[in-house]
Symmetry: C2
């Protein structure tokens, strides 16, 4: 992955200092990624009988490159200063712009070049996918899955930005935001893309993979939301309270709004989307989430998904080693739970 971006950095040298700096920051960002999605692509590929491990490993990077790009866009939208423990790209380039004597407002400059870099990342991602050595029909199928999912991610993100007052939303709407932005994107897309690159056409198998993916994705998202509210800054790689400030629509917040007392709802309304969230605010929110039963409810929902997810594994693959990997993913999500 780093080689690929490094090659692009070399090519960008003829364009000037800022393009190179942008790609270098981007390389640092991708290096700090966990590689969940590329790992799932490889897993989906192997589960469907794919044998070219070298090629799938190389190809699967396309989704990590995309993911880093969309994170750069997200960080600008969420106005976060930290990502994976380091300044977000738009923040970093405020300083770069200042040093270069940029005349436009520096926050706007940082935001703008961050959007440019995200756009560039999407096309670098495509370059990897379209040049993979798998049969062109398989690549085409994978590309279609990729497109359909990212269109939904983008639209889901726009919806999510709009819906900051959780008390006004019904369960269906919120679940639909989470489904597109997180579950499908983080889990279904990579597993199904992997299957497509292996040329899988067995419908029963694809359905089981999709069902597993949904369960795993939901559980992963739920744990992410729990972490977002109960994790430390170190665990999160971003400031605690960031979810709260952005009024992030999580299942926790949905169930708080359903199960909370009048007092809880008043506090929720006060703190959701608050511009200057303090550590004390976060503590107060944690308390009412536990008191109201929302925390336990959502946590149990996650565990239920994990349990269901396990039931699909035998249909997906007969290979014991792979079954173990599918299983250990479930264990991984359980263990990171708060």
């Amino acid at each position: 992955m780093y080689d690929f971006v490094s090659f692009e950095i070399k090519k960008a040298k003829e364009l000037g200092e800022v393009p190179v700096k942008l790609l270098e920051s981007f390389r640092n960002l991708t290096q700090r990624g966990k590689g969940v999605r590329s790992g799932l692509i490889c897993l989906g590929y192997r589960a469907c009988g794919g044998k070219d491990i070298e090629e799938i490993t190389k190809t699967s990077i396309f989704m990590e490159i995309f993911h880093s790009g969309i994170l750069v866009h997200d960080d600008f939208m969420d106005r976060d200063d930290l990502r994976r423990g380091f300044p977000t790209l738009h923040k970093e380039f405020e300083t770069v712009g200042k040093n270069l004597g940029v005349t436009m407002p520096l926050d706007h400059y940082g935001n703008s070049v961050a959007v440019c870099l995200g756009d560039v990342a999407f096309y670098l991602s495509w370059k990897i996918l379209i040049n993979s050595k798998f049969p062109k029909d398989f690549v085409s199928e994978a590309a279609n899955i990729y497109c359909d999912h990212i269109v939904r991610v983008g639209l889901g993100q726009a919806l999510d930005l709009t819906v900051t007052d959780v008390s006004k939303r019904n369960e269906k709407d919120l679940l639909s935001v989470l489904l597109t932005k997180s579950v499908e994107y983080t889990s279904s897309a990579p597993l199904l893309i992997g299957a497509a690159l292996a040329g899988e056409t067995n419908k029963k198998k694809l359905k089981a993979l999709e069902n597993y993916a949904k369960c795993f994705g939901w559980a992963f998202q739920i744990q992410d939301d729990l972490l977002g509210m109960f994790g430390t800054e170190e665990e999160l790689g971003k400031p605690i309270g960031s979810d709260l400030r952005e009024g992030k629509n999580t299942l926790l917040m949905l169930y708080l709004s359903k199960m909370g007392t009048r007092k809880h709802l008043k506090i929720q309304k006060e703190l959701m989307g608050k511009e200057n969230v303090t550590g004390e605010d976060v503590m107060k929110m944690r308390e009412i989430l536990k008191e109201s039963g929302a925390y336990d409810y959502v946590k149990n929902m996650g565990l239920k998904y994990l349990k269901e997810g396990r039931t699909y594994i035998p249909i997906i693959t007969k290979d014991e080693n792979l079954r173990e990997i599918f299983d250990s993913l479930i264990t991984y999500v359980m263990e990171r739970s708060k």
Copy 2:
């Protein structure tokens, strides 16, 4: 094109109101486009012997969809309120957000959903290209050209945002920004993509096409810059003085900084990148551009490119009708000149 976006609107209905509204605004924007790039793809295709006019017409739309998407990003970066005579998407969604009771700052909301929509547009664009019925090898070659150009467009845009003080830039740097962002993107990319979709491999022909494209692209860009400074709001579809406020790096500004008197340079420094550009400022800038000779110099440069571009036409194609089209493109650029 409208059918394609309309179909996506239908699919987005299950996601909610905002995704639908976004895609509807996007459809309106694409409908107001001139279709220069899709036209050039068709032309490149036909010049290289391509016969499936229906398929190339359908496929070429992918670049219009991309173009509308990148315009949405650009308008946010340039902080323009108008595009093609209508409110820009980020501006429009400030109002939409207000009516929907969005709690984050409305300008940030407008900017954010505009970025989401641009991202979505890129993937809609890909969906069209990868599902075109041309041989997969040809599509793959076209996709590579597409990727390489858009990566350069994005990096060129970041460079352009950085370099607002034209007096500090040398000619080479500025030409490199214009080359990537405008010339290659508007002209070389579509013509070469068209050629790729026709499966063209004759190097001499491809070289002539590329040379023609560069000349046409430079001339087009030059006329665009002239219009940007000397056109009416109606001709531009955006406020006059917008180029000036953004401190846009144009050849006009480069040559003014080279050929202007001390008085000219002082005015240039004052007005370039000025936050509140008035009509009077625009008039003053027009005056010194003419007085210094920069206007004539750049205009003649454009005419020179047009003349050179004509010389490549006989190598590109023997078909008289097509030759006439290549020729009329040159005439078109000449006629829109100020």
